[in-house]
Every structure is written in structure tokens, then in C-alpha cells.
Symmetry: none
Subunit: 401 residues, 2 copies
């Protein structure tokens, strides 16, 4: 038995003032509705009622982990998403290449939205700081990740990002016990990096072109790399994921899942649904469970674009039949609610439907935030989804006799 | 106020391919449906969503205990069901009388399904092993229970049962810290028991008759006897149970409940419903709460017999009016789902109805796995049932002012 879990990032919404309907309710979705009619529906609190999840914590929860236990910050998941080989206990941070002037006053938090920091990465990888091994990787545009490895490190340090330009960048300070060494290591690395970046041919070229040099590192989002019990051990399911978002790929990688590659995949509504579907099909050949996560819904929601959200929902609905039949079980849900009128994640539960052999099909006929509330699953939590699915797939182990 | 909680072991199911209905939905159950119409209905995860329960862990949960806390193995509940006087910290095991040859190769895991080991029990009770007090009791046919009492014992030991014939029986090995002494005591007891059993007149007779001698003990299912807060203290309810299954009787006994006796009761569909009903009536005279657990549904489900499941459901439904009026409150539910198409326990929630004064009667009109999902109770957990019931009975103690 195989299963495909489709997670539509930020799909769920609240009724819009103008429509009295959510974008999902407004959209024409005959294929999603067919799923609802064939399956068992319900509402799911991605983490718990009243908790507004991030995409990282929500996906952790959907994979059966307790984010309150394993999540201390975004850094480790970004770093894993970037493909860095992490070890339990490493402390990882998100980094921006930024621009400062000669007095360390912040001029641009994103160094003019730098296209690619790969040339700089090579220079920075040469820097050694006493007390910790340092891994550095440039990811996309002005973004990078930084990992510290060694004894006595902690994620409990402040950020050096003042979050506005025209003021001096801050030093990194310890925020909790054990943060002292980490702050010292980071401050030294950042200072040395600044020296290296100032002299980098890449930045000299940028200056000549009138572009802001990427001459400083802003560090934030620190977290300790958790030890996640691999999905395969937890549920006896070989897992894989197809996801454009690096953060989601990082969560899946730390859960021991294979991660598919779709070069034409994007985190927007322009993503290549056909290529993603093809990758899903391929990953299912050697996996029991594939998580397919799409980000476009969330992106237009953060931008407050209701009509574009409806449009992408309808485009995805048209694409849905290609995903049917790829696995015995199909789950369709969201990782959280992102109301277009709020433009941020909220805690509202999300609709969920499970289709496959043996499910207690209910009377829900359409897939939506309110229709699914009448479904047979009732109100479940994100962490309960995989145990329920694994049981339907015949993979649960009886507790007791 | 008194309450009768009827637990139909393995009653709940999934829709069958052929019918599109569960056996409970397929069966004509006017009396169960009347209960549903008069009461408040809901779905109940016996332990938690996605957890496939055993009957022991499920009944523990239904009695308000957390099986993750109090359950380490089946042995203690079997031993309590056999009437052994247990103490907290005793380590109890399930035992099979088996047949080995002169080289300790296993010939029959059940010694020819021995009818009764009572005569052997007497011989084995004479064996003393240094380091632990040993209680041994033959239960039914080839089955027995073994209890170790003393300092430094642990249930964390391997079984000596190779689970197939033609291979040598295994020695018992420690699996965790503290298992060393227990393994030593068990191995010595098993060796001494083998010597005693080889010479037992009972076995010499069997050999003469060409029957496999019951000359070896296979030990498994070890667990530490938990200290359960008695039901009476937990809920101010004097409790009793009527149950054919020894395992369920053991759970109830360890919960401090009285256990009724019905000689004509069986764990099959041929059980004596009338005599059981009579015993329930009697037990209710001196109890506030009687748990009545029937096993026939589960037995036919494990055998994959859908038609016989429907038949037994209908027979039980006809019998139900005799149970009405015996107590102020009547609860009807199952301990877990056993789909006839799976033949094993699964994690699907079970329907539950509570009838009695003051309940918020809902609009559900039939008792089934999908109809009850629309009920007023929503989706609850097994451990919450008795607190809800005790509160309806006026027995809850206000928390706060």
C-alpha cells in the first residue's frame, strides 16, 4: 500500500468580507469535491487549536513530530534544505548578505537582492574560528546558512540584524545559559567575514557597477539540529518528498526522507505542476509515502491576492486527476491557514480528506473549510494524521494484546 | 445513580468492499438505534488517534487509566484474570505448556493443545528458585501464567519461544537493564520445570497414549504489575465487571473491581447472553458501575466472518432490552475496531452512545460508525469516557471554586 499526501501550503483561508466565502469555497473545484465525496473528511489543527504554525513547524507536525519538542528555530531546517550534512547538536542560523558602510551602519539588509552568493561562499569557507567548526553555504539570492559544530554551543543568542537601515549593526549577545561561547564565535566569524568580503573581487566589481556590496552577514533564526526518529522507523514507511520550498525539503530531509528534484518547480503560482506530478510518480515507485508540498497558495495569500488564490486553486484542481491513481491512498490538506485579508499565517484549522480502501466515507460532498467540518474525521491534530494513515495502510503495530 | 457500560469487543469495523457498509450498519439493530436516538452519540479513540489498541490496553483506557503509563505487557493482566493474588512490582508472564524432544528441539508449541494443566501445576508449584518467589497457575488448555516476586526483577527479558517447531528452544536473555536476574531465575525455573515435567506421571501417561508430553514451558508477554488507583477511589464508583475474556477480567481485577462469574459465558458468539445479563443485574445491586464486556464480535472479526458478525450483532440487539432499565445510565460502545477484512485490530475510532438523565440528546437516530460521527459528543478518547459518565452521575468533584 502506498500513499500520497498533498499539502497545499496556506491553502486554507477565512471567509472574505466581500464574498462571504473563502477562496477555496469560491473556486470551482470539481476534482477536490470528488475527493471529498469519496473520502473521509475533517478539520485539522496543524499543531493545536489557537497555535498559528510556520510552514516548518506545521510540516514537522504533519510528519508526526512534536514541534514543541524538536523545534528551536528555523536555521536547522533551512540548512538541511540547502543540503548541508548536519549532525544532532549542530547549531544552525539563517544568514543574509547585507551592505554596511565604513562605520558599520546598515545600508541594505539584502545587499541589493544579490542574485547569487556562490563566489563569496568559497571565500568564507576558508575562515576558521577557534572553538567551533563552521559550515557556510549560500542558498538563493542574498540568503545563506551558517552551521556551528562543537562543544558547548547554543542557539540562544540575539540576532545582529537591526531590521532597519541607517543604524549600526548589532553585536551578537548571549540570551541564555550557554550562549556566551556561541556569541563569541559568531561575532569573530562575522568580523573576519566582513574583512574578507570587503576585499572580495566580487564586491569590488559590484562597487564599480554602483551596486551595494555584499560585505556583511546578518545572522538570525538560530536553532539546534534535532534528532528526529526517521519516518521509516516511526511508521515503517519509506518516505520521500517533492517540495519547492527549501524549508520543507529541510524538514523532510531531517526526517530521513528522500527529496525529489524538479528544476522547473517554484514557490509561486507559476510552478510546473506537470513536472512536479511526474516527480511524485517517480518517487512513489520506491517509496511508501510521498509528501507533495506546494507553496503558491501561501505566496499569493501573503500578498493579499484573493483572485489569484482562487485562480491557482482552480489550476491545481484541474491538475489533480493526474495525481489520482498514483497511490492507494490520497490525502489532501493544507499546512496552515493564511487568510488573504490577514496576509499572515493564522491558527484556524485546515480541511483534510483521506481517500482510499477501507476509509469510512462520509456525506461531505465538497472540499472546503466549512464543509469538511461536518466530516467523519471530526477535528484532529496534524500529528495524528500519519498515525491514522499508517493504520489504514496496515502499518500500525498493535499496542497491547 | 448507577451505570452499565456495555463494551462490545471488536464491534466496530470499516465499510466492506461488497456492502459499502460496516457489519454494524448492515445489521438490523432497532434497539441499538433506539439508544442512539435517546442518547448522546460520538466517536471515541479507545487510546488515541492512530493507535491500534489491544483489548487489554483499550479496557485500561476505558476505565480511565493511561495504558502508556501502566502497561508494560500482557502477563500481569492474564495473571490477574487467572485469579493470582498480585502485588505491585511483581513480574508476570504468559506461559505455554509445550513439547520438546531429548535435544530440546521444539516439537509442539501447545503440547497437542493439552486439555488441562492442573495436575502439572501442582508439581511445578513445588519448585523453588533462589532470588525470587514464584507463583505458577495453569489457566485454560495449554496456557498458564507465571509470576516472579522479589527485588531487582524486570519484564525486560526475551522469550524462549522460537515460534516454530523443529528448532531448539531459546535461552531467556536480558533485554534491558535489570533483566539479568530475571533471565537467570526464569532459565533456572524452566530447566527445573523441564526435569519435573519429564518425570510427571501425567506425561508418562500421555506418552503411552501417543500424545505429545507437556514437558516444557514457553514464556512470553512479560510485564510488571502496575499499581492502579482503584476505580472506587478514582471516581467514587463501586465497580464490577462481567466479562468472559480472562484478560479483561484481569484488567478489571487490577482496577479493584469485583468480577462476576457466569459458567456458561464464552468468548465466542455462542455465549450465554441471558445468563450474562442476569449476572449484570446481580452485580448492579451492589455496584454503581458495571462493565459488561462481550468478546464474540472480535472473535468472528479475527476469523473474517462478516455474515456471522452481522448475525451476532442482531442477536445481541434483540437481547439489549433486557439490559435497559438495569441502571440509570447505559453506555454502548466498543473497545476497538476489528475490520473483518483486516482480521486484526485497527486504530479507527469506535461509536459510543450515552443514555440517561440529563444527557444532551442529539439528532443521531442510528448506532453506527458513521452515524455517531455526527453526534453531540464529537470525537473523544477512551480515557475521557468514565470522567464524563461519572460527572453525569453526579460523582465528579469540582476542580476550583
Amino acid at each position: 500500500m502506498k500513499a500520497l499526501v498533498v499539502v497545499c501550503d496556506g491553502l486554507a483561508d477565512r471567509p472574505l468580507k466581500e464574498w462571504g466565502l473563502t477562496p477555496l469555497e469560491k473556486a470551482e473545484t470539481p476534482n477536490m469535491d470528488e475527493l471529498a465525496a469519496e473520502g473521509i473528511c475533517g478539520m485539522m489543527d496543524p499543531i493545536a487549536p489557537g497555535i498559528a504554525p510556520g510552514s516548518d513547524t506545521a510540516h514537522l507536525s504533519l510528519l508526526g513530530y512534536d514541534p514543541f519538542e524538536v523545534y528551536s528555530g528555523r536555521g536547522p531546517f533551512e540548512a538541511a534544505g540547502a543540503g548541508l550534512p548536519l549532525r544532532k547538536g549542530d547549531v544552525a542560523f539563517r544568514v543574509n548578505f547585507a551592505t554596511v558602510d565604513e562605520n558599520l551602519f546598515l545600508r541594505d539588509r539584502r545587499a541589493g537582492r544579490l542574485r547569487d552568493g556562490g563566489e563569496l561562499e568559497k571565500l568564507l569557507r576558508g575562515i576558521k574560528v577557534k572553538g567551533a567548526e563552521i559550515l557556510f553555504r549560500s542558498t538563493s539570492s542574498h540568503r545563506a546558512v551558517l552551521v556551528l559544530r562543537g562543544e558547548g554551543l547554543s542557539y540562544e543568542v540575539s540576532s545582529n540584524d537591526p531590521h532597519r537601515t541607517g543604524v549600526k549593526v548589532e553585536g551578537i549577545r548571549p540570551l541564555g545559559a550557554g550562549g556566551g561561547k556561541t556569541a563569541r564565535v559568531l561575532n569573530e566569524f562575522i568580523e573576519r567575514a566582513h574583512e574578507v568580503l570587503e576585499r572580495a573581487p566580487f564586491n569590488l566589481r559590484r562597487k564599480r557597477q554602483g551596486l551595494p556590496p555584499a560585505n556583511y552577514l546578518l545572522v538570525r533564526g538560530g536553532g539546534t539540529v534535532p534528532s528526529l526518529e526517521p519516518l521509516e522507523k516511526k511508521f515503517s514507511l519509506r518516505g520521500a518528498c517533492v517540495a519547492a520550498a527549501a524549508l520543507v525539503r529541510g524538514v523532510c530531509r531531517l526526517a530521513g526522507m528522500r527529496v525529489g528534484e524538479v528544476p522547473t518547480s517554484t514557490t509561486g503560482v507559476d510552478t510546473d505542476l506537470r513536472a512536479e506530478g511526474e516527480e511524485v510518480r517517480k518517487m512513489l515507485e520506491e517509496s511508501d509515502l510521498v509528501l507533495y508540498s506546494l507553496k503558491g497558495f501561501d505566496e499569493v495569500s501573503h500578498d493579499g491576492q484573493a483572485a489569484r488564490k482562487v485562480e491557482f486553486i482552480e489550476r491545481f484542481d484541474e491538475h489533480l486527476p493526474l495525481l489520482r491513481g498514483l497511490a492507494d491512498f490520497l490525502v489532501l490538506t493544507a499546512d496552515h491557514t493564511t487568510p488573504v485579508e490577514v496576509r499572515e499565517h493564522t491558527a484556524d484549522p485546515v480541511p483534510v480528506v483521506v481517500v482510499g480502501p477501507g476509509v469510512r466515507r462520509d456525506e461531505v460532498k465538497s472540499f472546503g473549510e466549512r464543509s469538511c467540518a461536518k466530516g467523519g474525521l471530526g477535528r484532529i491534530r496534524g500529528r495524528e494524521l500519519l498515525p491514522i494513515l499508517a493504520d489504514l495502510m496496515g502499518k500500525s503495530r498493535k499496542f497491547g494484546a
